[in-house]
């Protein structure tokens, strides 16, 4: 049957159904089903979040100062990003102002996450969609060296180095134990890199795996550990002591700051000399694979991030805004407190509303889990062969902005920055497109999404340096404050307040909405990046970003989901984040069935 969606896509579920479950190399659990036509082109796509943890039910009744720690455990990949959003939501509700240093350190925490997360995503979650590991065995190390040296001054690029990497890989393959590379899609015709580019990428896959652990040490300095560093309502707990006795035992001292400075320098070098050149090299071979647009360049959203000054959430390094219907000439204002803007729908989600034709703003949100399968499901409740997308089919809600399905993430952020004419976003995009000989429209593809993430990793690493310099200047000027404890005690809090906190997670716009009653959390709601990108259909029939982006993509081998993974991974899905629930009335929601 062919259906036209209000947001301009044609769905046809008459062809052969293909199921990919689990979708791997993502955070959390996800399923994807597609229908292929006789030419093996995707004509219908169904994306499903397959896990639910109920964190917001668990938050109810807790001390709002503790909420960041619970929320941080929503995701260990984008670690810290939910904690930051949570402390902001609570501070917003309680009217707490944070010191300038706390704002700078929080910006550094988040920028560190961006640099780290984008790098790990590119090499360890996404690269194998573009790079044929086994093909690297056929590479000529000398030619690989010549290729590497032609695109980057990175030191590890001799023929001997690549020859060693290749020999390691050969012995690994010969061992008969392929480990994480077992059953990969090696040899699929959709892999088009020459062996030398594959070998270079494999070498950098390993280098990046070894290097990424360095980047996060910035989190360890300021937050004590990574993953899951510590945060604080009212600022940061990492006291600064540069001069006084016992500074060496204080959290932030000259030794730790020197470490941070060193890591920032090495992070910039790795991203600019390894990640970006690899990205461009890979893109140059794939530039004719121009699938995966979906909502990109059409309906995109960013909440913005990185306050230039503490407590001013309107003056941001990454701009806030929304673009709809592809009109890049108008960036619309976004208000997270407006009940008509951000809303969530559940008529295709495994939750229950009294009236499922309507969406609810997160402050008014109700959610009640309701796992039920539609009449056209193939299989049983505990052995699903094929989902019925006409009914409920995902633990992800359908988030909409003024009724529009939206895409969020690095490409959306760059699109908004570009549309606003801000040179630090516009220039690198124009340069990349010029270097690759591609038109502007090529940005709005799977490859464009992946490219924007790389450009943003570089942007973040350089901003990290700016923030570091700002922190040093502040300390030099005699400001060492990191926390404001004026409203730390609950006795100072109003009886009933609500707040909203936001950030841009590596994967896109993230918001937390909280009600605090009598010093306790009365309700808590998170609308996360993958709620936007991975959303199921809404009552009007609009498809979300994942589903839209898959449509029209041909599979080179109809039995291998390589191109599906490529496009889904370009969004960097995070499923543990995207499935949540809250109970405003505190009633019993769950049918208990102990096995």
């Amino acid at each position: 049957m062919t259906v036209q969606t209000p947001n301009g896509f044609t769905l046809d579920n008459s062809g052969r159904r293909m199921v990919v479950d689990p979708v791997t190399r993502i955070e959390g659990h996800m399923r994807c089903e597609v229908n292929l036509d006789s030419d093996n082109v995707i004509r219908n796509a169904v994306s499903t979040g397959t896990m639910w943890r109920g964190l917001e039910i668990i938050l109810k009744g807790r001390d709002p100062r503790d909420a960041w720690a619970f929320c941080e455990r929503i995701c260990g990949v984008c670690t810290g990003t939910h904690a930051l959003t949570s402390v902001r939501a609570v501070e917003n509700a309680l009217g707490i102002q944070i010191p300038e240093n706390a704002n700078i350190i929080r910006n550094m925490m988040q920028l560190t996450l961006w640099a780290h997360d984008h790098l790990v995503h590119f090499y360890h979650l996404h690269a194998l969609d573009w790079v044929d590991v086994i093909s690297a065995l056929k590479a000529d190390p000398k030619a690989t060296s010549a290729l590497a040296q032609s695109i980057s001054p990175w030191g590890k690029s001799s023929p001997g180095y690549f020859s060693d990497v290749q020999a390691r890989l050969q012995r690994f393959v010969d061992s008969g134990q392929l480990g994480p590379f077992m059953n990969g899609y090696w040899g699929n015709p959709a892999y088009v890199l020459p062996p030398e580019a594959n070998l270079m990428a494999v070498a950098h896959y390993l280098e990046a795996l070894d290097f990424q652990r360095e980047i996060v040490k910035i989190h360890t300095v300021f937050g004590g550990k990574n993953p899951h560093p510590n945060w604080l309502v009212g600022g940061m707990a990492c006291a600064i002591n540069m001069d006084a006795p016992m500074g060496a035992g204080a959290p932030v001292n000259v030794v730790q700051l020197n470490l941070v400075a060193d890591i920032i320098g090495r992070t910039i070098a790795f991203i600019d000399q390894v990640y970006i050149p690899d990205l461009k090299a890979i893109a140059s071979f794939y530039k004719n694979w121009d699938y995966g647009q979906g909502l990109a360049g059409q309906n995109v959203l960013a909440y913005g991030e990185f306050p230039l000054h503490a407590n001013d959430y309107t003056n941001l390094m990454i701009p806030r805004g929304a673009i709809v219907n592809g009109n890049l000439n108008e960036v619309m204002d976004v208000d997270l407190t407006d009940p008509d803007q951000v809303q969530e729908f559940v008529d295709h989600s495994w939750y229950k509303y009294p009236d499922e034709s309507k969406g609810l703003h997160p402050w008014d949100g109700i959610t009640e889990p309701n796992f039920e399968l539609g009449p056209n499901t193939v299989g049983t409740k505990t052995n699903i062969q094929q989902l019925d997308e006409g009914a409920k089919y995902s633990y992800i809600k359908a988030a909409r902005w003024r009724g529009h399905a939206m895409e969020v993430g690095p490409l959306s952020r760059f699109t908004i920055g570009y549309a606003k004419g801000i040179s630090e976003f516009k220039d690198p995009v124009d340069k990349l497109l010029t270097d690759l000989g591609l038109p502007f429209g090529a940005l709005f593809t799977t490859l464009g999404r992946t490219a924007a993430r790389g450009l943003e990793a570089s942007w973040a690493a350089h901003k990290l340096k700016d923030c570091y310099n700002q922190l040093i200047a502040n300390i030099a000027a005699g400001d060492t404050a990191t926390a404001n404890t004026e409203n730390w005690e609950s006795a100072t809090w109003p009886a009933s307040v609500k707040g909203v906190g936001f950030t841009e997670a590596p994967r896109g716009a993230l918001g937390h909405w909280v009600h605090i009653e009598n010093s306790k959390i009365a309700s808590y709601q998170a609308v996360v990046p993958t709620t936007w990108n991975g959303s199921p259909r809404d009552p009007a029939g609009n498809v979300g970003a994942f589903e839209a982006a898959l449509l029209g993509t041909p599979l080179a081998n109809p039995n291998q989901p390589l191109e599906i993974l490529r496009t889904l991974h370009s969004f960097d899905p995070c499923l543990a984040c995207s499935t949540h629930v809250m109970a405003p009335d505190g009633g019993e929601l769950i049918r208990v069935q102990v096995r």
């Binding site: 399923r31 668990i58 100062r65 020999a167 480990g179 040490k217 730790q256 889990p369 699903i384």
Partner: protein, 363 residues
């Protein structure tokens, strides 16, 4: 492809590692495990004679922080663990394959290596809604977990989720998420709690198993005693301030600048068994207390429900007093441990953990 998998040593030599470097690697591994130099020879011998251990790493309800922590390991490097020490045959976070091509591995490896592979579990199974709050391959995760556990040689419970339940099991535990020892009852389970565990603790546990061909000594609760035998408080560098009665009284106060004890800010170090104050985090850069925030007790059972994080321990009736600390707290923990029937069963099963057939006496 060769019929017989190569040993670590063969692999390292083949990959260009010299005999000298190999022995140095063994010495460093011994040092990392806190062993005397004499053990370097044993490690070398073990690594020369064994194929890589197949590891199947499953994910239930979780946040992936354990995987992220694992790849932070600096000694040994996670790349060395994955490519040289074990054969990570299934891990949905890192593996190339997806869908059926991934799932078939969970049928193949247990058949190919019955009783030899290790099952590593990150996250836990929810039991409500017939297990369908965590669906993989269209089926409840708990089914998959039990099926893969069946032929495993041993099970590693990574992190607080698999060990104790963690955040999704906090009250009121809407999905009825349970620690894995509630659904795997006939296998030795090594619990490596923490949210997440320290990277080098994770790779240390694996290195130990590979090196000595046995599980590390576990305490009565199923945790490796070498990493979870002491409270963070016992080895905290701020302990002298505790003993001197010097406390941080308020965030960013003079005491905070001086690195005073965080006990009054709610630090759970006195009741938390973990290696944070000794091994520290991310290559020894810091640990929560060093960075100015109290320990939240993330390696302890039910730590989410043990009162607000910023209430000092005395306020929540943990039996902790400023002077009579260790014994009182230790006794409380021991009583809790004895109540853990599953933990006891796990410990008994571990005694029966045997080496693979045909390995002979390599130690």
């Amino acid at each position: 492809m060769a019929d017989r998998p190569q040993t670590f040593y063969e692999l390292m030599r083949a990959q260009g590692t010299s005999r000298r470097s190999f022995l140095k690697f063994c010495s460093l591994t011994a040092a990392a495990l806190g062993l005397e130099p004499v053990y370097a020879d044993k490690i070398a011998h073990a690594m020369e004679t064994k194929p890589r251990l197949p590891v199947l790493w499953l994910h239930g309800l979780e946040c992936t922080c354990c995987s992220e922590s694992f790849i932070r390991s600096g000694n040994p490097l996670s790349s060395d663990v994955i490519l040289k020490m074990i054969s990570l045959d299934y891990d949905d976070t890192l593996m190339a394959a997806a869908g059926h091509d991934a799932e078939s591995i969970l049928d193949d490896i247990p058949n190919k290596y019955p009783g030899e592979y290790v099952l590593a579990v990150e996250g836990n199974p929810p039991l409500n809604e017939d297990g369908m709050y965590c669906i993989i391959g269209g089926k409840p995760f708990v089914e998959r977990l039990q099926q893969v556990a069946k032929n495993a040689r041993a099970v590693i419970a990574w992190g607080a989720c698999a060990s104790w339940g963690c955040v999704q099991a906090a009250k009121p535990n809407p999905t009825q998420a349970v620690p894995i020892d509630k659904v795997i009852t006939d296998k030795p389970i090594i619990k490596v709690p923490g949210c997440p565990p320290i990277a080098e603790v994770m790779t240390g546990v694996i290195s130990y198993i590979l090196t000595f061909d046995r599980l590390p000594e576990l305490d009565s609760r199923g945790r490796p005693a070498m990493f979870y035998g002491q409270r963070i408080h016992d080895k905290c560098y701020r302990r002298p301030h505790f003993d001197a009665g010097e406390f941080v009284q308020s965030w960013d106060d003079e005491g905070a600048h001086q690195g005073y004890c965080l006990y009054k800010m709610g630090c759970k170090g006195p009741t938390t068994y973990n290696a944070c104050s000794t091994v520290r985090w991310n290559g020894g850069v810091s640990f929560p207390i060093q960075s100015g925030h109290g320990c939240i007790g993330c390696s302890e059972e039910n730590f989410w429900d043990n009162g607000p994080f910023y209430s000092r321990l005395a306020n929540i009736g943990a039996g902790f007093g400023v002077e009579a600390t260790a014994d009182t707290v230790g006794a409380t923990a021991a009583v809790a441990a004895l109540a853990g029937v599953a933990a006891h069963a796990g410990a008994s099963a571990i005694k029966h953990f045997t080496r693979k057939p045909g390995d002979g006496d390599k130690q």
